[in-house]
Structures are given as structure tokens and as C-alpha cells.
Symmetry: C2
Subunit: 205 residues, 2 copies
């Protein structure tokens, strides 16, 4: 057995690993993987660079750890879509959960966007392993809803893509959005009813 013993981490370990990951999320999401330096992360975390590397094996290790940990949070809104609920309500609730996520976790959204944009070089397998099965499952669910006549005919895959695209847009392209909307306006407050109307009409029949 070549398994790490994995003793429980000390208080210091916990605190510093958290600080590093939070700092790294901040920097990675703003500058991308290659645009981020270990020095930047170290400074943001309040540690020295060699001290970073005491907690993580290297830059890539930090990045992959972040992405992996985020994956669950990220997929959670979709997981919660309930097969026993009302189709329209379930999908609309999903839309609003996803929009709330873009609002509350914009750094996470941008981190993922950057990774996918560049071809998912470091989380491709994770996508295959976690996202794909969940996606297929929910597509099948929506398809049965359509077959039961509880939703109008539609392609569940593109529906989901549209939900992802429209909600994450506000986080991923925040710069552009705020530039066009005006800095002070509450973008999400007006986006919610718009998306609600749009998808409700789409599902209404």
C-alpha cells in the first residue's frame, strides 16, 4: 500500500492551506494560470514563497486543488434539480440558483471559465468523471418530462447550455457588463426578472 498516512492536519496546516487557496483563487481568477506567479499568491496569503511550497507541491498543485474542491460546489445547483418536482418550477429554480451563484461566487466562476476557455488542460478528466454523468442524467430527466408532455419539445442539452451561458455571463464578463450597465447599478437585480421571463416563456409551451 503506497497510501499517504494522512494524519489529521494541525491547526496551522488548516489555517495556512485555507489562506493559500483563498489567495490563489483571487489571483488565478484575475490573471489566469500562466498570468499568476507564486510570489503574488504568497504575498496575498501573507506567506513567503518557500513557505507556500511547504504546503503545496507546486503551482499546478494549488490550481488543481482549487478546481477540484470547487467542482462540487459548482455542480450542486444542478444536483438539486428534483425529478419529483414540477418541471417548470424545478428548472426555473435551477436558473435562479445558478444566477445567485454567479453573483456570490464570481471568482470561482471566472476560474472555471478560464480553465475551460483554454481547453481544460488541468481538469479535463474531472469534467469527464463528474460533470458528464450528471449532465447526462439531468438531460434524460428533462427528456422524460418532455415525453410526458409536461414541457414543450426542446433539446435539453441546449437548454442547459443556455442557462449556463446566460447566468455565468454576469460573472465571467463582469467587466464588460459593468462598463455597459454603469458601475453602480445592481446588475443582478434586473437580470433576474429578465432571465425568469425568458426561460419561463421557453418552458411555457
Amino acid at each position: 500500500m503506497t497510501q499517504t498516512p494522512a494524519k489529521k492536519p494541525s491547526r496551522i496546516q488548516q489555517r495556512n492551506r485555507r489562506a493559500i487557496l483563498d489567495a490563489a483563487l483571487d489571483v488565478f481568477s484575475r490573471h489566469g494560470y500562466r498570468g499568476t506567479t507564486l510570489d503574488q499568491i504568497a504575498e496575498a496569503a501573507g506567506l513567503s514563497k518557500p513557505n507556500l511550497l511547504y504546503y503545496f507541491e507546486g503551482k499546478e498543485d494549488i490550481h488543481v486543488t482549487l478546481l477540484s474542491q470547487l467542482m462540487d460546489t459548482w455542480l450542486d445547483p444542478l444536483v438539486e434539480m428534483n425529478p419529483d418536482g414540477d418541471p417548470v418550477s424545478e428548472i426555473m429554480a435551477y436558473v435562479h440558483r445558478k444566477l445567485a451563484m454567479a453573483k456570490d461566487l464570481p471568482r470561482e466562476s471566472r476560474l472555471f471559465a478560464g480553465e475551460i476557455l483554454q481547453g481544460a488542460p488541468r481538469i479535463g478528466p474531472e469534467l469527464q468523471g463528474h460533470l458528464k454523468p450528471l449532465f447526462d442524467e439531468k438531460c434524460a430527466l428533462i427528456t422524460t418530462w418532455v415525453e410526458q408532455g409536461r414541457l414543450p419539445p426542446l433539446d435539453p442539452r441546449h437548454l442547459i447550455f443556455s442557462i449556463w451561458a446566460t447566468t455565468q455571463h454576469y460573472a465571467d464578463f463582469e467587466r464588460q457588463v459593468s462598463l455597459l450597465m454603469g458601475e453602480d447599478e445592481d446588475t443582478y437585480a434586473s437580470a433576474a426578472p429578465h432571465l425568469d421571463t425568458m426561460f419561463r416563456k421557453m418552458l411555457g409551451g
Copy 2:
């Protein structure tokens, strides 16, 4: 006057500048600004690195030149939206032009996406100067259409955001999309009717 004389470029100048910009578009769109090296661009363009720098002042110069040249192409579909046409037809035509653009120019789409994602550090002014006025103009147009009762009440800004998001999604997140749809399937062929239905219902009243 401190203006460059700007004699007409020689045949070699034209050929090489084109080759460099095309190579740079390829590499920048795949690896982002910081993830791209001059050596990569040089190799892709079939030139030596110092030779690159004979044609451009530096890495940033290449990047900015690319983005600036692309801006016009990028905004063109929106420019074409005709105030004198039928509102629904005009907007739907815009949706399809934008989708075609994502299909035909995915590298350009990803180049822009990467730049915006990181806060538009190099084309912020260009966005302000070109995109913003056009956006405001078209928003005003759509608003008059709504006021004339030719469109249902809606927020033109979020409508445009939704169009951008859903169409560019297929280029920017191509990796994820192809992973979830299956590599061989013609994604755009099935995306077109989906988006057509969705936005038509949105505009239908």
C-alpha cells in the same frame, strides 16, 4: 508633427505581418496573453523571434493590434441591425449572425473572451470608445420598438447580454460543449433552432 510617415508597406511587410497576426491569434486564443510566448508565435508564423520584433514593437503590440482589428468584425453583426426593419426579424437575424460568427471565428471569440475575463486590461478604452456607443444606440432602438408596442416589454440590455452569452458560449466553452455533446455531432446545427425558438418566444409577446 510627430506622425509616422507610414509609407505603403511592401509585399513582404504585408505577408509577414499577416502571418504573424494569424499565428498570434491562434496561440493567444489557445493559451491567453501571459500563457503565450513570442517563441511560440514566431514558430507558428515561420519566423525567428527577432524577426517578429522587426514587425511589431513587442508582445503587447501584437496583442493590441489583433484586438483592435477584430473589434470592427466583432461589432459588425450588431451594426447591421436595421432600425427600419421588422423588430423581431431584425433581432432574430442578429442572433443567427452572432451564432454564425461563433462558429466561423471561434479563435476570435476566445481571444476576446480571455481579454474580458481578465478585466480587459488592454482593450478597456476601445470598449468604451466603440462598443459602448453602439450598445447604447441599439438599446435605445429596441426601447423605441418596445414603446411602439412592436415588442413585448423587456430590458434591451439584458436581451443583448443573453444573445451574446448564448451564442459565444459555443465558441468560448467549446471544449466543455464538445465533451458533453460528443465530438462528432454538429453542435451548431442543433443550437440554431434551439436559440431561434428561445428568442422568438421571448420576443413573441
